[in-house]
Symmetry: C2
Subunit: 310 residues, 2 copies
């Protein structure tokens, strides 16, 4: 039996932060409502970074408040630091994701901190959360885990070391992210397998694969991760996201393509692909001129004697 | 150790036959020379169908003659019938590929014959080849093996039956083709594994996987096929090909993406990816307004401490 696979929507955060167009709060609410109606039960709705840096996400508090009205939806936000974590706790997000770069060079460029400093921040966030009495789950996304545009290769030993260090410092879930689209399927299998082994009894805490389609391998990487036991994937509707270092390059793996892949292989996702494709059309209309990704929307769901397999 | 994997170029046939632009014979020769210089050693250079049906490929005889001047290159052509096979033998192609639809509905639409009638044609072609004294290899590509836009699902039993029937009727090599982009990785593994098992001592004669990227799964399917022992893939530079039933949909899996995937996973292909990307640029310039595919050309080969991994 194929297990249930969770597809977490990150388009409202990782997607929208990387494009020019700023969606209105109402549009974001409409997106969240429709994604929820289509069956999505985990959505990263924004991030708590200074609005001058990411005006696209300045309304995150209001978006969280709306998303929390939908029963059974896990509402998550990205937080880059302690201040962001305070905001996440204030608004009552169900989970918060702290990015931790496996590449020291990327860490310096992205958050102006070393990985060790980020681990200290993580411990402070954990203490804050514990003191607050909140049940907000603390997740660490290990970015550039498969390579880095600045430093190139990232040693697998270092990735595994940081995963363990993150759990030791207070993270309750961890994930591996191919931030720049360098991963290949063999590497995905090898690194996730090594990480599962190294985590031992804590292996279930490594829950998520986050892949970008920058070089076209995202779906092959999803499939590779599935084969070694990964059960949750981040994805962005219409593949929005892009990459500042590669003009025209695609961004996050597209939600609808991941759901199609999983559907077609017989995994259950709880998500209605047709509804997702309808939502994609709506969002594409909101983002004129933006580079969109994904494939299944073009040719549509295959004809099958047994009916559309969604 | 990862085995050597062959990437056969089919862009000059499957690609060019599906687009509007007609490349000149000189352009085709330049393409073949550059693909050869980049390391490709199997190229399907055209097909012997009536020129009024496919004016794009009307110069196939001249293109074959040129390609045959390149030492060690296997020059193949597609032949839809006995007359095409006669031409292939006349011009001295090294191999000829006869398409055989696993879907009866597709067979009727594509060649106006039943699969059984095509098997009879195959036997006639084999007799002709044997009588001629030629060493031209006869290959059968089992099209719509993973599903059909007209009839929907194609029974796996029927696919396996036709593979065996094709070998019994005189084919010396067979391949499975996802002509319409319906395949998913689980299906690819299942069907190739079933076919290898059913062929028994003749399993090495099932050599090739032919995938279209119509729904974005082509690279995931290549990877799935690799995992069950497939060692040759058809691919089209720049992913040209399209699909007449899906405007804007991508065509064959792109050669450069397949080579990138294989390179990155440590397989040897003998092909220089940088040279292929240079050629892609040339061909893109020859095809203004045509829908091209592929991903790696956008963002480029990843930075690696150990240097570009081509």
């Amino acid at each position: 039996m194929n297990p249930h696979i969770t597809v977490r929507e990150v388009g409202l955060r990782d997607g929208l932060q990387s494009i020019q167009t700023i969606l209105s709060t109402e549009q974001k609410k409409t997106w969240i409502n429709a994604a929820y109606a289509a069956g999505q039960r985990e959505i990263e709705v924004g991030s708590f970074v200074p609005a001058r840096l990411l005006p696209q996400l300045a309304d995150t508090a209001e978006v969280v408040a709306h998303a929390k009205t939908l029963p059974g939806l896990e509402v998550s936000v990205l937080v880059p630091n302690l201040k962001g974590a305070e905001r996440a706790l204030e608004v009552g997000a169900h989970s918060m994701l702290l990015p931790l770069s496996a590449s020291a060079a990327h860490s310096a460029a992205n958050v102006r901190k070393t990985p060790e400093e980020m681990l200290k921040t993580l411990a402070e966030i954990r203490a804050l959360r514990d003191a607050s009495g909140s049940s907000c789950v603390i997740e660490v996304g290990l970015s550039t885990a498969f390579g880095c545009t600045i430093q190139g290769d990232v040693p697998e030993d270092e990735v595994v070391r940081l995963l363990i260090a993150a759990l030791d410092a207070g993270a309750e879930r961890v994930g591996l992210a191919d931030t720049v689209g360098y991963a290949d399927p063999a590497q995905v299998k090898r690194l996730f397998s090594r990480a599962f082994d190294a985590l031992g009894t804590r292996r279930d805490l490594l829950s998520c694969g986050h892949f970008h389609d920058t070089r076209g391998l995202a779906l092959a990487n999803v499939m590779a991760a599935l084969e070694v036991g990964v059960t949750k994937f981040d994805a962005s509707l219409a593949g929005i996201g892009g990459c500042p270092h590669a003009p025209g390059a695609s961004g996050n793996v597209s939600t609808e393509d991941v759901v199609y892949l999983l559907d077609r292989m017989g995994y259950s996702t709880g998500i209605d692909l047709s509804a997702l494709l309808t939502l994609r059309k709506q969002i594409a209309a909101w983002l004129p001129g933006e580079q969109l990704g994904g494939s299944i929307w073009r040719a549509g769901i295959p004809r099958s004697v047994s009916g559309a397999r969604t």
